[in-house]
Structure formats: structure tokens, C-alpha cells
């Protein structure tokens, strides 16, 4: 077991954004977190990466309790994450952005640069390594985001809608990139809206609705689950009138 969340809840004031979410991720898996907007998957995500402290429950990574650990401690232990809206360091070059991640395991500047060069080439930005990061468009920024976290050499990466805002063609190349990251031996947790991505990438899916996990299982089972259909499309009309 690489990552385990045990009945994690998070309240904002009196509003329960997330109640009793469980998740266990084995080394080498790709897990999807899906659900409509406001379902609690971002809250759960933030509890797993240390951005939010759960109101109750426990998060354990590689047998270390990380429930109250800071985001930087998560990174040190080997949990990486990307941001939904890319948090690019605008004034730096692409290579320098990635070097910030590489410095985590390579304090020496030459080692960090070498590592960063390898990663930048791996994600397909090698030709633009010395361009300013602000010259990148959305697909490039998403790639850079992934490159930065890869350079910190995590065992687990949580991707927060890393593919949102891409065209269908860009999504295909991005899926390919995620597969190659997985082949490097990195375990992945993916938050995603796009069903195509979930179906083609993940082995197991956790579905959120209104702060609860309503289903889990293989992607093909989950898409046919009535609770999931209800979460996404609502109930049938006559049922809703009665409610």
C-alpha cells in the first residue's frame, strides 16, 4: 500500500465539503477521481497533498502519517502534484522552472540542471528549454507543470485536471505522456472531467457526489453504475418531482 486515506472528512464552517472518503492506492496503479463540480474531489485532492488539513480522518503514505504534514513535507516524502490552473514561474525559463523541482533531490546546481534537461526532453519541451516560460500556451504550461513535478522524483503524482482545456489532439498526446510517466514507475492519481481520459488510462475509479464517494471500481463498471449516472445526469424526471 503506497497511499491510504481513511475516512477523510473536511468541513468549511458548517458545510461538509467531504465526508468519510476512503482511498487506497497500490504502488504502480493509476486511480481516477471523478464527479461533477462541487462533488468534493478537489477538497479530497487537497487533503491528500497537504494543502488542506482534514477535519477528521487519516492519510498515510508509505507507512508515514502525513495527515498534518505541510505541502513541502509531502513533496520531500515523494508525493508530487500539479495545479489545475498551471502555476508557472513566469519570469524563469522553462529549464529553470524544472530546475526548481530538480533541486529537491539534487542540491548541486549542475546535477539539478542535468536532471532538468533530461525531464524537459522527456515531456517534449527540449527544443524550447531556454525560452521564457511565459511564452508557453496552455498545452505547454500543462506539460511544464508535469515536468516540474517529475523532476522532484516523486513516487506518486496527483494530477489535478492536467488535461482540461486541451484540444482532442492535444489530449491524445497528453494521455501518451501520462502513460510514459507511469512506465517510469510512478504511481498516479488523476482528477479528471473528461471520461475518455479516465476510461483509457485508469485501472480503478472513485466517484464523488455531494461530498461522498458514491461508487468505486473499474472504469467500465463505474460508468454503468446508476448512482454515477444520477450524479452526472440527475434522476429521471418523475422521481425528481416526487423528491
Amino acid at each position: 500500500m503506497l497511499l491510504e486515506a481513511q475516512s477523510v472528512s473536511r468541513a468549511f464552517g458548517s458545510f461538509m465539503a467531504l465526508s468519510n472518503a476512503d482511498l487506497s492506492v497500490d504502488e504502480g496503479e493509476i486511480i481516477g477521481l471523478i464527479g461533477p463540480n462541487g462533488a468534493g474531489k478537489s477538497t479530497f485532492f487537497n487533503c491528500l497533498v497537504g494543502d488542506l488539513v482534514p477535519t477528521s480522518g487519516r492519510v498515510v503514505f508509505a507507512e508515514i502519517d502525513v495527515t498534518n504534514a505541510s505541502p513541502e513535507a509531502h513533496a520531500r516524502l515523494g508525493i508530487g502534484r500539479t495545479f489545475q490552473v498551471p502555476a508557472t514561474f513566469e519570469e524563469m525559463t522553462i529549464l529553470e522552472n524544472v530546475m526548481v523541482g530538480a533541486f529537491l533531490r539534487h542540491p548541486n546546481r549542475h546535477d539539478a540542471r542535468e536532471k532538468a534537461r533530461e525531464i524537459v526532453a522527456f515531456v517534449g519541451l527540449g527544443g524550447q528549454a531556454d525560452q521564457p516560460a511565459r511564452s508557453l500556451g496552455t498545452p505547454g504550461r500543462k506539460r511544464l507543470e508535469i515536468a516540474r513535478v517529475l523532476a522532484s522524483e516523486p513516487r506518486l503524482i496527483l494530477l489535478d485536471e492536467a488535461l482540461a482545456g486541451l484540444t482532442p489532439v492535444e489530449i491524445q498526446t497528453a494521455i501518451e505522456l501520462v502513460r510514459r510517466i507511469h512506465q517510469r514507475g510512478v504511481t498516479l492519481v488523476i482528477v479528471e472531467h473528461i471520461m475518455e481520459v479516465i476510461l483509457s488510462l485508469t485501472q480503478r475509479v472513485l466517484v464523488f457526489n455531494q461530498g461522498h464517494t458514491v461508487a468505486s471500481g473499474s472504469p467500465s463498471d463505474v460508468v454503468n453504475d446508476p448512482a454515477v449516472i444520477e450524479a452526472y445526469l440527475g434522476r429521471r424526471r418523475e422521481k425528481r418531482r416526487r423528491a
Binding site: A75, G80, E96, R148
Partner: protein, 322 residues
């Protein structure tokens, strides 16, 4: 880049031979001192992006320590230099520990509050000369008193200190420390997600900056031989450091020096043109510079130069907007 370095170094080394006379010698020393203080501020305010508006507290500690040792115990003022740096680092820790937990303007506000508090306390504390201030040795007893009639020895001492600060800043900015500072300035949340211990690195920047600002204060006191609460801890001391760095270019190595090279002669000109009333005019000028910079070129003159130079070498229409 290599070229500009050589040119700047040569200009600074030769300056006292080109512009001779007490007025210009003094201007050169003042210019370097302003550059030292602004370069020290630039470490935390520029590189790490944490805007301190209370750096006068470090400058004042550095200025008071040597003159206090002399006034109270007749020790050579130079002995106060490490004392001032130590006190400044302690103050930096006291300000930084609680405020660097928070993002945004809390740090800036805390620095103003601490600096003003210290200024008021010092102004009412007889042991450190209260509102009157303190004097250094009128006549040098030994060479340890570092008291010279000409400005030229100060000029070269200041030049060596400036070279030390810029050299160290350059060295740090190329390594992990510098990358982490820039990442913190660009976005703390993203920096933390990549394992940057944000609080610790902000504190390093502040401690380093405080130590060098204190050194600037000590040098000031050694040259002038007098300090009072306003010239040591006054808010305008802090503001001058910020404007000097911002005019040249915040977060760049040579920006503070460039800012000083413009502002110090300007200030001396207004002072000599309008006499005592000129100091008021200087501050009106500062206000104007802040407004113009904030509106048109927040990156400072070096940024402006870089863009103009890039346009001149490219000489073709821009095909895609930045």
C-alpha cells in the same frame, strides 16, 4: 554580461581619479553607500520578493552599535560592526518567524511597525543618546578608528564591501538558494508543492539582508561620525533603499547600483540648489519616481534597457504577442 561587469568595475575603480575634489569624492562615497544598502535590501525585497519597508531598523542597529561602543566604553567603533550585524540578525528572526507563516502584506506591515517602534524607543533612551544621538571620535586615536579626513579611503572601503555583497548575491542566485528565492517570489503555493521550505528560505534571505544592511549602517556611522534616531531609524532610510533598488531594477544584481548612480547625484543637486529646503524637494521627487515606476516600468531601468536592446537587435516585426 561579462562586458558590462568589466565596464562597471573599471568606472568605479577610476572614478576618484576622474572626478576629483572633495564634493565629488564625497558624492562617490555616498553613492556606493546607497548602493550597498539597496543591494542588501534587494536580497530579501528583490530576489525573494518579500517587500520590507522597515529596513531602517537594521541600518540603525548597524549605525548605533559602533558609536555606542565608542561613547560608552571608548572602544574603537569598528568593534561595533559585528555587534550591529548580530543584533540585526536577531531582529530579523524576531520579525520573520511569525510573519513568514503568512503570505502577502503582513511581513511588510510588521517591518514598518518594528522599525517605527525601535525609532521611538531609541529616541527616548538616554543610554543610546535619546533624541540627540551619538558622536564618534572627533580625532582618530589609532587607525582602528577608521576616521579619515578625505572621502577617498571610505570610497575604496565601500567599493570592497559592495563587491563582496554583489559577489555573494551573484553566487547564491546561481545555486539552489537563488532558484528557491525566485520560485517563492513567483508563487509560494507552487514552490511549496515542489518541496521548497518557503519559510526557511525567506528567513535566510531576511537574515542575510539584515546583516548587510547593518553593515551599511555601520559604514555610514564610521564615515559621518554621528547618528540620531532619524538618520538611523527614520522611515525615509527604508524608503530610500526601496526606491534606489526599484529605480535600477528589483531582483537584478546591478539594479541597485544603477539606481544609486542616478538618485545620489540628483539628491545632492537638489540639496545644493535649494539648501536645507531641498531635502523636502528630494522627497517630492521620490514620490514622483515611485508613481512613474509603478505606472510605466515596475521592472526598473534595467528591464527597460533589456527590452529596448532586444527590440534594437531583433529589428523585425513581432509576430506573436508575449
Amino acid at each position: 554580461m561579462k562586458w558590462s561587469w568589466l565596464v562597471v568595475a573599471a568606472l568605479l575603480l577610476l572614478y576618484p581619479f576622474v572626478l576629483t575634489g572633495a564634493f565629488y569624492e564625497r558624492m562617490g562615497a555616498d553613492l556606493l553607500l546607497a548602493a550597498i544598502a539597496a543591494s542588501a535590501w534587494n536580497i530579501v525585497g528583490g530576489y525573494a520578493g518579500q517587500i520590507s519597508v522597515g529596513h531602517a531598523v537594521f541600518f540603525g542597529a548597524g549605525a548605533y552599535a559602533p558609536l555606542l561602543l565608542y561613547t560608552q566604553w571608548q572602544l574603537p567603533p569598528v568593534f561595533g560592526v559585528p555587534l550591529g550585524m548580530l543584533v540585526s540578525i536577531l531582529i530579523a528572526i524576531i520579525i520573520g518567524m511569525p510573519t513568514f507563516r503568512l503570505q502577502g502584506h503582513y511581513f511588510s506591515m510588521a517591518t514598518i511597525a518594528v522599525a517605527e517602534l525601535v525609532r521611538i524607543v531609541v529616541g527616548n533612551w538616554d543610554f543610546v543618546g535619546a533624541a540627540i544621538g551619538m558622536m564618534g571620535p572627533a580625532v582618530p586615536r589609532t587607525v582602528l578608528d577608521l576616521s579619515f579626513r578625505s572621502s577617498i579611503p571610505y570610497y575604496y572601503i565601500f567599493l570592497a564591501v559592495l563587491a563582496l555583497i554583489l559577489g555573494l548575491t551573484h553566487f547564491l542566485s546561481r545555486g539552489r538558494m537563488g532558484y528557491y528565492w525566485r520560485a517563492i517570489r513567483a508563487g509560494e503555493r507552487a514552490a511549496r508543492s515542489l518541496g521548497v521550505p518557503v519559510r526557511r528560505y525567506k528567513l535566510y534571505a531576511l537574515m542575510l539582508s539584515a546583516a548587510f544592511t547593518s553593515l551599511a549602517g555601520s559604514l555610514y556611522a564610521l564615515m559621518i561620525g554621528f547618528v540620531d534616531p532619524e538618520s538611523g531609524f527614520g522611515i525615509l532610510v527604508s524608503v530610500e533603499m526601496i526606491i534606489t533598488a526599484a529605480l535600477g531594477g528589483v531582483g537584478t544584481l546591478l539594479g541597485p547600483l544603477l539606481g544609486a548612480a542616478i538618485l545620489v547625484p540628483l539628491k545632492m543637486a537638489t540639496n545644493s540648489l535649494f539648501g536645507g529646503g531641498g531635502s523636502g524637494l528630494t522627497y517630492i521627487l521620490y514620490g514622483g519616481i515611485i508613481l512613474v515606476l509603478a505606472r510605466f516600468e515596475p521592472g526598473g531601468l534595467l528591464e527597460l534597457w533589456r527590452r529596448v536592446a532586444a527590440r534594437a537587435t531583433r529589428r523585425k516585426p513581432v509576430t506573436h504577442a508575449a
